[in-house]
Symmetry: C2
């Protein structure tokens, strides 16, 4: 019987909405979902393992990956490159495993261009007031920066229409349950299963 | 804020796959899902309540409902009419409640014509051999009838492409979990939520 492919899940949303917290909580639940490993030119920190925490690359190697279109998306941050190797994602889903990528909105939209068959989940704050609270709560930002981030957040929420699902992050455990339900439902989608079942009728 | 509509869930599949068992198990879980009430010309049995078990109608009333296109689908069975009143379904989902309709494949396809925005779930046997076992297991059918029902089942499985989801009924509790996940995921679909969130950005 034809093996069903895994899903590429892309979890995204405005800064401050709690993508990292939700992804961390999902990870603790020990589902079968795998977590995407990024390539980076940043030096490994103590205890970090190549292929587990990151794929560690030289600048030269990374720029060659960019040139050869081997990254789903990439960005430069504080002088280092970060990106998602497309081969790694394809190999994982071809083995039938689901893989999740936690990423900001601009990166997610780039992934969507390369990989429209992904499942795009927009993590949403319960309200903009609550998003502001969460950003203010970090205590690291000036009023001016907070206002700029709120403007960006509004723009990002407008991009929601590029996504398949919207998950409200009112409570972390509820958001995690919704994401797990989306994964289960996606595996039940007729278009993913029809070939498998047509074979069943033929061979049975 | 604009109220989100409920879902019309249509659970269907070949005879013998276990629609009634799965629907009954879902009912026991006391989710918020409501169960569709059919109209019928059959006489009420002891304890049956109009509007709860069925909407009891005279033949004249029922035929008027058919004429005025007030039924999502209907069929005649052993001299009595059975059907699903469209107003009842619309009122339920307009109040924001999800409603489930358990129905054979021909009926489900009629519902789809009238109500394409429904969520159509095809309940699938793990294999055709297992479906045969389940039909044989009832002990009420001759070999000839079993073969005819298997032919119908194959034809019905071909109609799977009209459905949104395929749920394997390998174990009842797993099938119920998958249906619950589909309901959660459908409520997270971007196209159902985008208006609500656009309002959030405007009013916040």
């Amino acid at each position: 019987m034809k093996k069903e492919k895994g899903l590429l899940l892309v979890l995204s949303g405005p800064a401050g909405v709690g993508k990292g917290t939700v992804c961390g909580a999902l990870r603790k639940e020990k589902t079968a979902i795998q977590y995407s490993v990024s390539a980076t030119t940043r030096a490994p920190r103590a205890g970090e393992v190549d292929g587990i925490n990151y794929f560690f690359k030289t600048r030269e190697q990374f720029e060659k990956m960019i040139e050869q279109d081997e990254l789903l998306e990439w960005a430069e941050y504080v002088g280092n490159y970060y990106g998602t190797p497309i081969d790694y994602v394809r190999e994982t889903i071809n083995k039938g495993h689901d893989i999740i990528l936690e990423i900001e909105v601009q990166g997610a939209l780039k992934v969507k261009e390369r990989f429209p068959e992904g499942v795009f989940i927009f993590l949403m704050p319960p309200s903009l007031a609550e998003l502001r609270n969460r950003i203010v709560g970090r205590g690291t930002e000036t009023e001016d920066i907070i206002n700029k981030r709120m403007t960006v957040a509004r723009e990002e929420i407008e991009m929601m229409e590029k996504y398949d699902y919207v998950v409200e992050n009112d409570e972390v455990n509820l958001a995690v349950d919704r994401i797990k339900a989306i994964v289960t439902a996606e595996h039940c989608k007729r278009e993913r299963l029809i070939e498998k079942y047509k074979q069943l009728v033929e061979v049975d």
